[in-house]
Amino acid sequence: MRIVGALFLREMRTRFGQYQFGYAWAFVEPLVQIGILSGMFYLTGARPALGSSYEAYFLTGFVSFTFFRDPATQTAAAISANRALLSFPPVRNLDTVWARIGLEVITNVAALCFLMLLFTFLEIPVIPDDTIRFAEGLLSMTVMGAGLGVFNAVISTMVKSWMMLFGWVMRIQFFAAGVFFIPERLPPFALDVLKWNPVMHGISFVREGFYGGYRSIILVEYYPFAVGLVLMLLGMSIEKLYRRRVTQR
């Protein structure tokens, strides 16, 4: 725990350090994305599938997507980026992963609070109808992101091209997970395939919490949690089995 704490502080120093806006970027990025997506919908005349507010629709779509995306992608390089610090014997491979996941989760929660305050101040309604369910949905996204992050961090030290493949997967997820649409609007043949995507379950979960009257036709609450935990355990087991290889490179 002490080691993870030290790594956490060290990650804070460099995670946003190289950009000019520093930590503020974590807050600006979702704001800009919501603005762009809302603007696109507005200009093309598309209506949000739920509620009447574009901002709320993309807050539940995009921001919940970042709860999955950020722990999954930022954590992927945790082991390789901390190679030098791993030469201190008390520092273990997975400590670097836990520290990054912690930083991403805290950053995401802070960014969400900031957006909600800002939108409320601008009199855009962004307060969820069922806060507990909304938070559970975000937790399911976080668990999936963290699980995938652990898995990525371990695999990327062994399979060089993994991160490139993973980049494609994330780009597809951005369009396929339901940031823009809700599963009810999908044609049946697409729904039959996409309903297996756990990220779509997570986003539906968040939206059920946000829009009190909405009940998703696909949501199975434990599915995204189960996928996240299985990936996490898989990553941890592979690290344990192949610790020698993971350590050396």
């Binding site: 002490r2 080691i3 704490g5 030290a6 790594l7 502080l9 060290r10 120093r13 460099t14 350090g17 190289q18 901390n82 030098a84 610090l85 791993l86 030469s87 201190f88 014997p89 008390p90 520092v91 610790r243 020698r244 350590t247 050396q248």
Partner: protein
């Protein structure tokens, strides 16, 4: 006491499997300084990394009950390039539960880095890095120091300062040292061991170990 119990460590190379340690059981004595000898590629650095815990044995275990052991000093680069020297010190203090201010003061005085301590380590020259690393390792009081082919850094005056600090350390701490310099080994170590073909042979005097090592070198084509 550091104890190796049935420790096996192998590397898979393109030309086949290389055995560094093959089912080795031994005690590394406390209160003595140990020089480790072996031909190039015998696995001396790996041996130190096993002792420090940087690498895990394939089989067996290494017991280090109650003994604080340094990371291998020398080649290993333990600093994060994007962080300043000061932040790297802070990190090391946190993971070893040491007082940040005391360590920073000591290293600042020892390394003579001055304001450059706040520069990112990636901008340091190799000499500056070595001074920071050496200062840090001297600021922490370890029971056992692992030294991997330590190379003298800086000018003559700084070398003398390092040697003095190190000699002072050795009044309370032990070293396990890998070096190709027989003079350095003789200067610091009293006992020796020779690593060859996965076996570790101990000798009560460093000069005996050096004699065995020299005969090994003669046998090589």
């Amino acid at each position: 006491m550091i104890r190796l119990e049935n420790v096996t460590k192998r590397y898979r190379l393109r030309s086949g499997v290389k055995s560094i340690l093959d089912n080795v059981t031994c005690d590394i004595p406390r209160g003595r300084n140990v020089g480790v000898l072996g031909v190039n590629g015998a696995g001396k650095s790996t041996f130190l990394r096993l002792i420090s815990g940087n690498e895990l044995p394939d089989q067996g275990r290494i017991r280090r009950a109650g003994v604080s052991i340094s990371w291998p000093l020398g080649f290993a680069e333990s600093f994060h390039g994007s962080l300043s020297g000061r932040d790297n010190l802070k990190f090391a203090c946190r993971i070893y539960s040491r007082d940040v201010d005391a360590v920073t003061d000591y290293v600042l005085a020892f390394s003579e880095l001055g304001n450059q301590l706040d520069e990112p380590v990636k901008n340091y020259s190799s000499g500056m890095r070595a001074r920071l690393a050496f200062g840090l390792s001297m600021a922490f009081n370890f029971d056992v120091y692992l030294v991997d082919e330590i190379t003298a850094v800086g000018d003559g005056r700084f070398k003398a300062k390092c040697a003095a600090a190190f000699t002072e350390k050795l009044e309370k701490s032990d070293i396990i040292m890998v070096s190709h310099s027989m003079a350095t080994l003789t200067q610091y170590c009293s006992v020796g061991c020779v690593l060859r073909d996965g076996k570790l042979e101990f000798y009560d005097s460093i000069s005996d170990a050096i004699a065995v090592y020299n005969s090994l070198m003669k046998d090589r084509p």
